[in-house]
Amino acid sequence: MKLWHKYIGLILPVLAVAALVAWPFVTGKPANRESAFTILKAVALASSLNILLGYTGYVSFGHIVFYGFGGYIGIYLLTAQEWSLWNAMLAGGLTSGILAFLLGKAILRLRGAYFALATIGVNEAMKAFINNFDLFGGPTGITLNFSVYKAYGGAAQALQTSFYIGAGLALLAVLLSHIVRTSKFGLGLLAIRENEDAAEVMGVVAPNAKTWAYVLSAIIPGMIGVLFFFKNGNVEPHDAFPLHASIELLVMVMLGGQGTVLGPILGAFAYQGMRGYLVTSAFFKNIQLSVSGALLLAIVLFIPAGAIGWLRHRVPMIRRALA
């Protein structure tokens, strides 16, 4: 395979992330930085979820558990143990990965809707447990002391830094997604997605491959969780484990096209863009959730392969560029 072939699929995704980072500076509006951060976070989370959902074919309805769990671990270490943001993020990502490894060993045996249900159960059990866990502040959660930001040049500078880190994590998630997609490991995952039994007969060690896919899809959400709650200033059970946000991630992946590197990125742009528009529009503001729901339904019913799938179907020429 020629070298440029291997990387052509990365061009658009990387450009998209770069455009997001440039956006607030080009427009000069600080508010855009917050919007851009929201989209970067969505890109990172959706691209991570795609490794499990799009490549491996396992529908995780509770993927946000890794974001919340990692976030809690990181914020706890930041406050109670006075760790630096960097170390806390690493710890958050690592513990989320370990959680995914242990969980994966158990629940990845389940297939189809049973797996989806189990992930919901795990998320809810975790939320309920943290709610009772005094070390993490129980129902009130953990609030960062304002002085924490001093080490990062004050609150304003800390926000700015968080934005860059968010961009870095989004880029990392996209790179990881691309590496998995173009690797031998990824080929095994795709085989599992298409037909797990046939894949095993061909020698794919499905239990291990699935577990590692789960782990890889959990690490960056854990890091993003730490970053977000650091920026946010506090973490509570309801913000950390919102089932709703989990499903929004599925929507983004589906919207753009599951199983492709670019799909979740497009989906994150489209979904967050649409939400941003609906929430601020005078006409749709009150029923924005219903409008989103109706749009989602239309997509599920009429273009289930997502935007990328639809395009690839129409224009086979661009198949490789949109891998």
């Binding site: 080929l187 795709l190 085989a191 298409e194 037909n195 046939a198 894949a199 095993e200 020698g203």
Partner: protein, 250 residues
Amino acid sequence: MTILLSLQGVSKRFGGLQALSNVTFDLPEGQILGLIGPNGAGKTTLFNAINGVYPPEEGRVIFRDKDVTRSKPYDHARMGMARTHQIVQPLNELTVRENVMVGACFGHENQHLGNAARIADEVLEFVGLASRVDQLAGSLNVAQKKRLEMARALAAHPYLLLLDEVLAGLNSSEIDGMIQTVLKIREQGVTIIMIEHVMKAVMNVSDRIIVLDYGQQIAEGSPEEIAKDEKVIEAYLGDPKLAEQLLEEE
């Protein structure tokens, strides 16, 4: 003569049905073993027992001097066993080449992607699917999907190849092509067990034949011996057309 595969008293039940009882044979390297019997005789079940899809309750499966009775299908694949499915199982949303690369990557040679792509192209050329490498596997017709099954299995460069009715549903010129392919595979030193209903083909290519009926091994021998075996003819009497085909071979 080295024994590649050895089955010792393999038995398997599904609820009240004794699908396999006490199947025992040794398969020397380089042979083609034909596995025949009426529908429901347990042929595919035997394949599933051999490659770990449904491990047998009793008996042992020895492959390359290792007991693989309780091993998973992927362990078998990685040890050099490959199979095709009676009901084709293409990875629909992957291209034909990618399908075959899975076989090469995860089979016993454990190839990396670059080599796997090269092997895939060779194997697809060999089975006559070279013009379809970039097509999605789901878009192939049934005969092509059967060839794809074969290509995926071959790409692993297995020691033992289990072929489950690769001729079913093919027309006579396709059958001749497939038989040539099977013989060429054997020339490369691959040992083969084939389940087949097309008697002419089994009788022509097999070195040895085992007949299963209701999970029992009712006969075993060279094609000539099998064609004369009373028990075999009796077993097939319920299936007059097959019995006729069988007798024609005498």
